[in-house]
Amino acid sequence: MTLTPNSIDQLREQLPKAKVVEAMDLSAIGDLIEHVPEDMTATAQAGMTLGDFQTQLAQQNQWLPVDPPCPANRSIGALLAGNASGPRRFGFGTVRDWLIGIAVVLPDGRLVRNGGKVVKNVAGFDLCKLFIGSRGTLGVIVEATFKLLPKPEAEVFLKKECASFDDAEQSLEQLWGSDLQPHVLDLHRLNGQPVNFVAGFAGARADVESQAKAARKLGLQSEANLDYDATFRPTAHVTESVAPADTINHLRSMTDCDFVARAGNGIMYVRHHHPENFKGGIGVDLASGPPALQTRIKNIFDPKGILSTL
């Protein structure tokens, strides 16, 4: 069944009574609870979209430094459930690094808080981490508090159209070994185009300008934007993940595909033109079943199996 609660209290009543919840619509639980610019923290309910949240924060020239695709349609709850990220992940990490407190409704209806509103806090176990990326299988996140950053004074993206993977590798390694501090390091090959190497710089204007100049000298001559990520990732693809140094070799081994790759993180979003010819990708090895510890956690938090399985 689909749950469409009007309030947290209603969710607390509905959830224990539900047999199996297939979908959850929290759009009615979507308020900005508070934004405290002087503390650089903000609290929002899970139904609020990431786009609306960022718009509110931007009024005080602050932001939550995560940039997954489709912020206008992505709720804070969905952002957390999937630990979603975008191109700026190389510079800013994922939402896991910015969440400092949550409120969760457990399948039995209990409302549980963890963490808090301060940026440094080790009181008790870190359930924030347990719930981030748990895809709604352990409880329903209804509220989240984040630490924020000031919006960068300047931001620039540059790209190089590479003649080959060797060419791309050379540019990447040069940038990697330099003193520059890119916050985006992407490779993409889309719609039969050559491999593009994209680097981004953000921060104080003087730093961004001097880094852009240095990057141009490394061959990243053209201005770019990140639209490729927003366009490509909502379409069907698989996610591959390797150690960062192995990215280019992994891409080389896949000839018949389009991709967007986080070269600094070793993460690749890949669309195989003939997926039947391709074996691999990350994913749970279903033959051996999920690890015992994961199963124990699921069974303890959701003993009746009301929420979906991991």
Binding site: N121, A123, P150, S241, I297, I300
Partner: protein
């Protein structure tokens, strides 16, 4: 099985020289840097391999004995106190840096590896390990994982959980799990983020044996300011305004007059003895941006009545400033025979208020309370000075600490930013969290340690307390 048999079995696993059981050998292990409660473990074992740890844990299971994982014992909250005896597994002999993978900016180390050794070995690659607790020349990475350690430079870079990618843990049932990112693996890991969920578990989920850490590139430039202020109020206000201005310094630390005087007497840096407070503001990054932000920092300091803003002239002077800051606790011996420190956190805009409250608390309990702390994070470290030989002073010191922590909660903060709950702050857990909040934490613990035998009687109310035990009386198996 009696005491003798236990020792014999442990010796069979690790060899005779790696088992401590005589009272005089165990004394070192009766407490950590939180010394108000003490109790001896039944035995201390010093394994050299994960296999040995597994065998020890399985033996403890058979005998239903508590397991207490321990690093260097620098915890300030009694996290490694053997409340009910048991076998203490000290990881200090598993202390190697196994591999520095410079291209992937990762290092694989054993749990007993000292925090500072990682940066020492990574520095030649232009890399460093960010979490830098003041105890970093002694504390171990396993302890950092257990307590999610912070440090002065975690304001910008984040704490241990942001820099530990994965680790091997021997669970209380003796199974070995790798949690998080594998040494040669990708960042995307299937399933729940158990790595994150178990960082900061205070040794209650298992024994960490190997750790994969993230290394960062050493910033090309630093600029370290010393803001000299007439009053703590002015310095606190400066901190709030620097944060509000959107500046994210690498570190933003405060020392009040009593601390500055003690540090000066001990280390002769040249701190002014008559200043109300000294702020250390360190910017790191690229030279141009630092220059621009440095001007802003100086301006904000002067707007808040700074008497003087000094800049460290070179790396040597910068290193000297940090040496003073990190050894500040060590200088306290000059002020008082005993002290107890707290590490509450408040929202950063509440710093001026909590500092005023600490001053009032000092007067109320007639005890000196110097402060040296991570101002940029809102993480206070009041050092409550007392003399245990004077009747009633210990009690007053504890009461002052309680007042301060309760105020932190009232201001929307937390009772601990980096030291942990341990044995010390158990009573505050029900004040900061609801019964259901605590129940959810215990649910997670149950998945890792259903029998609650790993570092028992910590964090949650209702367990045994050392006060109920005669000090230095050895528990028997």
């Amino acid at each position: 099985m009696g005491q003798t048999n236990l020792i014999h079995e442990l010796q069979t696993i690790v060899g005779a020289e790696a088992v401590l059981s005589a009272e005089e050998e165990l004394l070192v292990y009766e407490c950590d840097a939180y010394t108000l409660e003490k109790n001896l473990p039944t035995a201390v074992v010093l394994p050299r391999t994960t296999d040995e740890v597994v065998a020890i844990v399985k033996l403890c299971n058979q005998l239903k004995l508590p397991i207490i994982p321990r690093g260097a014992g620098t915890s300030l909250s009694g996290t490694v106190l053997a409340v009910d005896g048991g076998v203490m597994i000290a990881l200090t002999r598993m202390n190697r840096v196994l591999n520095v993978d410079a291209r992937n900016r990762r290092a694989l180390v054993e749990a007993g590896c000292v925090n500072a050794w990682i940066t020492r070995d990574a520095a030649s690659h232009g890399l460093f390990f960010a979490p830098d607790p003041s105890s970093q020349s002694a504390c171990t990475i396993g302890g950092n994982v257990a307590t999610n350690s912070g440090g002065p430079h975690t304001l910008k870079n984040g704490v241990t959980t942001n820099h530990v990618l994965g680790y091997e843990m021997v669970l209380p049932d003796g199974t070995v799990e790798w949690l998080g990112i594998e040494p040669d693996g990708g960042e995307e890991v299937d399933g729940y983020d158990l790595r994150g969920a178990a960082i900061g578990c205070e040794g209650m989920f298992g024994v960490v044996t190997r750790v994969l850490v993230r290394l960062m590139k050493t910033p090309p430039a630093f600029k370290t300011f010393l803001g000299i202020f007439e009053s703590v109020d002015d310095a606190s206000q400066t901190v709030s305004e620097i944060i509000r201005a959107g500046i994210v310094p690498g570190a933003l630390e405060m020392m009040d007059q009593l601390i500055t005087q003690a540090v000066e007497e001990a280390y002769h840096f040249g701190f002014p003895l008559d200043a109300g407070a000294v702020l250390i503001v360190e910017l790191d990054g690229l030279p141009d941006g630092i220059k621009a932000q440095g001007k802003q920092v100086e301006k904000i300091c002067h707007q808040n009545n700074a008497r003087e803003v000094r800049v460290a002239k070179d790396d040597t002077e910068r290193a000297a400033i940090w040496k003073c800051r990190k050894r500040a606790f060590g200088a306290i011996g000059r002020l008082s025979p005993n002290y107890v420190t707290q590490d509450g956190v408040v929202p950063r805009s509440k710093l001026p208020e909590i500092m005023r409250f600490i001053r009032a608390t000092s007067e109320k309990h007639d005890l000196r309370i110097p402060n040296v702390f991570h101002a940029g994070d809102g993480n206070i470290h009041p050092l409550i000075l007392y003399d245990e030989r004077k009747p009633g002073e210990t009690k007053r010191a504890l009461a002052a600490g309680h007042d301060i922590l309760e105020k932190c909660i009232a201001l929307g903060g937390s009772v601990t930013g980096e030291h942990g709950i341990g044995a010390e702050k158990i009573d505050f857990m029900p004040k900061q969290f609801s019964e259901d909040d605590l129940a959810a934490m215990k649910m997670l613990r149950r998945a890792f340690d259903p029998a609650q035998r790993c570092n028992p009687h910590k964090m949650f109310p209702g367990g045994k307390r050392c006060a109920e035990f005669a000090p230095r009386k050895q528990a028997h198996a």
